[in-house]
Subunit: 392 residues, 2 copies
């Protein structure tokens, strides 16, 4: 009665992750630093010192307007247009870049820029658990398409098949949370063709949201291609929360593909500031905007992520898991050993090893491990993985 | 075609302020520190040193989770429940408090918690220029009611008259931007009766949003009463951006009135976290949450605001203005001298004195002056007000 219908739908869609975080055995143990915590992509080691000094130095005011209202400030817009442009091989203008407090806000911005109530947005499962509640909060309709097992490739014909007259947006997440896959150039090219043909078929343009917060976290020096380079009607969402492992500091951006035809691109550039104002003055705070150039080249230790991946995979195989070798992100996605996933999850929890149940991403036969756990947690957990499943 | 209909409506609603900020004569001159800038509530003096040291000290990590994901952290929730409870005489629980990146996000949160598409929200004009675009972004329907001149009192019978079957929310802003009025206890009590009777008449509960970001900025030691103490179905939005004059640092909160009947209150408490997640992980960043206890008792110099008010008012009267004595906020609201407001505005702009045209708030006969201008700007502007209108 009291709460709006849309937020009731949001509550339903966020129920399993909400319960896991607040009420599960993990919820009760999560603030204990002695557990082996492989659940969320949260830090378990001290922050990057360069991040700390960037915040501290940019908190010292350089002028009277230091903490005045900040929209997307011109300096970080210019800086990012150049640097991200070089990284992705795309000729961004500063006006293509909207600074946001993390990727959440960039995604919400794109949802509002593109979708009206009742419009459909397609994404692939397993997926990050927030696309669905965010679409529902924006009164859009989530349409979910399974990725193809065993390697969780994009299923382009399944995407094509679900496109209908109400489709306005397709979301692609690469590198992919939770599977760690990076979609190759030829797949992205084919996706672009599918979306182009489908747009003509349904009589209006389908937009693409490329959600790329893990873009710089790649194993084995793998290549990354942005979908924005293949499909001109693409928006990028990005966050520094992953690459700096500081999701509490809320810094990211939305970028419009500079390949977008001029009229559409201008219309979205013009609409971005009023949209950000109207969804809640959705700009990063002043200090974080000043820090952009310092943070742009900074990253957590990719070698450590690789080391943890390579320590965990053999032990998990030995324990009967079937992990997928991740190409990017800091996650390890795996099938559980044979038997009941809940019993397996509890057998690990009995040993203070906590992983993310795939059930939270509509994939109960799987689990996700965050490699942001410390080396010490990894070493402690290795024998426990084997032991837990020997006894279940 | 490209941009969603809701954001097109937002663009239309935000057009005049957007043009003023980016394209007007003010837009072209605003970054020049030699102008007399009385437009937005932005700082024109160096920030509070305590704010700077709070940010710097809380940027030093105390543990591994320092920059981990932060929802509403328990410590600031507890702190605020106690301190705001004492300030407003209301027994808040920590769960009544949702930390937000400024009042914008608190307002957007309430809109989503309460309103479904097509639901109506009432507010009084002249008003802050963002209620309307924010309601439109949430697909709600703004219903505007004029305040009663000459003193811009709440017009309770006009509010009552516009309440219909789709009304779900009434917004009251006290101390009021732009007029500087603070609504007295007896008026708020009468408003509560009106809303209670109307809720029974239309068969569902009307909620109240009390937008109070200027609550601690009051002239002449005036009393403040929160509408939340009179009408149990009230949400409060608050920002530290005004009292610390640091709107770029994005810190505020939404509070549920603890007088709300238990079942509704619990339902909103439960819905708040998923709603904040779904509207874009709408929480302040880690450093700003840690800083809450340091910032809570801090304020800009009320004596300086009073001094500027008292310098400006006689000069404006001499120049033919009819200013309203502000009770709160840092604004001065005034009728223009006789004649064409545009010509008057340009006569001031010719002299590098920039004020906010009332036309931006649907009140073309008026103007708003922000007392956050420096003393030096005030002194420089005093003769120019007189001179500008002598010659027009």
């Amino acid at each position: 009665m009291a709460v709006s219908s849309r937020i009731k739908e949001v509550q339903q869609a966020a129920l399993s992750v909400n319960r896991f975080y607040f009420q599960s055995r993990y919820g009760k143990r999560r603030s204990d630093p002695t557990i082996c915590d492989f659940t969320f992509g949260n830090p378990h080691e001290m922050p990057l010192t360069e991040l700390v000094s960037a915040i501290r130095s940019h908190a010292v005011p350089g002028n009277e307007s230091w903490f005045a209202y900040k929209a997307s400030e011109v300096e970080p817009q210019r800086f990012l247009a150049e640097h991200v442009g070089r990284e992705l091989g795309l000729p961004f203008d500063p006006a293509d870049i909207a600074l946001t407090p993390g990727a959440f806000a960039a995604i919400s911005l794109v949802f509002h820029l593109v979708l009206d109530p009742g419009d459909e947005a397609i994404f692939c499962e397993p997926a990050w658990f927030c696309y669905e509640p965010m679409l529902l909060a924006a009164n859009a309709v989530p349409r979910k398409v399974p990725l193809s097992t065993p390697r969780f490739d994009l299923d382009l014909s399944a995407i094509d098949a679900v496109i209908g007259p109400k489709t306005k947006l397709v979301i692609v997440n690469t590198p992919h949370n939770p599977t760690g896959r990076i979609y190759a150039a030829d797949v992205l090219q084919e996706l672009a063709s599918v979306l182009d043909r489908a747009s003509r078929r349904i009589g209006h343009r389908i937009y693409l949201l490329s959600d790329e917060p893990y873009r710089r976290l790649r194993f084995d020096a793998r290549k990354f291609d942005s979908p924005a380079a293949f499909y001109p009607w693409t928006f990028i969402s990005y966050s520094y929360g992953k690459v700096l492992l500081s999701p509490g500091q809320r810094l990211g951006y939305m970028a419009i593909s500079p390949l977008m035809p001029r009229e559409d691109r201008w219309a979205f550039q013009e609409a971005t500031f009023p949209a950000q104002l109207a969804i809640g003055w959705s700009f990063p705070n002043a200090v974080m905007q000043y820090a952009v150039p310092d943070l742009e080249t900074l990253t957590i230790d990719q070698a450590a992520l690789t080391r943890r991946r390579d320590r965990l995979i053999p032990a998990m195989r030995q324990a009967g898991y079937d992990p997928l070798m991740p190409e990017g992100t800091f996650y390890l996605w795996s099938e559980w050993p044979e038997g009941d996933p809940d019993r397996h999850w509890n057998a690990l929890a009995d040993r203070d090893v906590f992983v993310m149940p795939g059930a939270l991403m509509n994939a109960a036969r799987y689990l996700r491990i965050s490699l942001t756990a410390s080396d010490e947690m990894v070493e402690r957990a290795l024998p426990l993985f084997v032991e837990a499943h020997r006894t279940t």
